[in-house]
């Protein structure tokens, strides 16, 4: 009886925990989307998302959270085997940057893979060059990716499919980090590139 119950209990606890994390992240984001001219700057939220990471970019260079400072960053976690949500997000970012005009130079798009097993720096390099924006693409060891994802409150999990393939379930959120590396605002697939550009213009002004 016990042996039968334990995995079930474990599953329930895990599911509950995952649910809480997702709800928590949702609440954070709902709050952050609240229209304030300076976004989350100066609020508790500013330090709730982000944090230290050590990853490697598409050219094999080590990149840490400190390297993101000095410019605004648009941080998106995804993976290259994802043909629907991820290219949509990156394309939305590229269109939004175009709308910004010269101010686009103050914004750096960052793509962090949640699938380091398949997304090596080399794979990422060929992937991001297809988009009309200078994207910094980051990979790392599974542990390094886990740490970065934890800081950004990003959930991801491998979902096995027939034939040994797999897809990744993952949070699909574009995080706006200010030049000090503080979380400021976020966008989801509900936001059009025009909305993203408008919001960025306000934040950059």
């Amino acid at each position: 009886m016990m042996a039968g119950n334990l995995p079930r209990r474990f599953f329930l606890v895990t599911a509950l925990f995952a649910g809480l994390v997702i709800l928590g992240a949702g609440a954070f984001l709902a709050l952050s989307l609240h229209e304030t001219p300076r976004g989350a700057a100066g609020t508790l939220l500013a330090s709730a998302i982000g944090g230290p990471f050590r990853l490697v970019d598409q050219n094999g260079k080590t990149v840490t959270d400190a390297d993101l400072k000095g410019k605004w960053s648009l941080v998106y976690f995804g993976y290259t085997h994802c043909p629907d949500a991820c290219p949509t997000a990156l394309n939305d970012i590229a269109i939004a940057l175009d709308e910004l005009g010269p101010q686009r130079n103050e914004v750096r798009p960052v793509f962090v893979t949640v699938d380091p097993e398949r997304d090596t720096p080399e794979v990422l390099k060929s992937y991001v060059t297809a988009f009309d924006a200078p994207i910094l693409a980051l990979s790392g060891t599974p542990e390094e990716i886990a740490q970065a994802a934890k800081g950004y409150r990003v959930y991801y999990a491998k979902h096995p499919e027939a034939g040994g393939d797999y897809s990744m379930d993952h949070s699909s959120v574009i995080y706006v980090m200010d030049p000090e590396g503080r979380f400021t605002a976020s966008f989801t697939q509900e936001n059009s590139p025009e909305e993203i550009a408008e919001r960025l213009k306000k934040l950059l002004s």
């Binding site: 997702i22 709800l23 992240a25 949702g26 984001l29 290259t80 085997h81 994802c82 043909p83 629907d84 949500a85 290219p87 949509t88 990156l90 394309n91 939305d92 590229a94 794979v123 390099k125 060929s126 992937y127 991001v128 060059t129 297809a130 988009f131 959930y155 979902h159 499919e161 027939a162 034939g163 393939d165 897809s167 379930d169 993952h170 949070s171 699909s172 959120v173 989801t188 697939q189």
Partner: protein
Amino acid sequence: MVGRRLLAVAACLVFASAALAQTGQLEVSDAWARATPGKAENGVAYLTIRTPTPDRLVSVSSPVAKKAELHTMEMAGMVMKMRPLAGLDIPAGQSVTLKPGGEHIMLMGLNGPLREGQSFPLTLTFEKAGARTVTVAVEKPGAAGPAPQR
């Protein structure tokens, strides 16, 4: 033997009358795909289906990929989940559009990259209408919809 033949004739009559009752045929239009970035192994295609009688899309295939599957993209809060679909019901008289952020045709294990401006064949198999092959136009990576009629 006679019984079986009668049954066959009856079946033919039923099919014939069903065909006559139809005002048109199942149509697949606006088929487009996203160019694949770099060496991406998976691609995606979208299209619109319209049918005068209820039908169900049961499988997809294309020579450009080892495998093609019908997928759906679900959001659970902020989390994106991609799942294979066993089939997709197409109600009568309504346009069903596969588009980014929802149902899509996943092209898995591409034989080569899909480049903007190219096109390729895609075969859809429906429960009743049978197989339909359409030409898919390749748009920009991350494109949000099909290009205006060319």
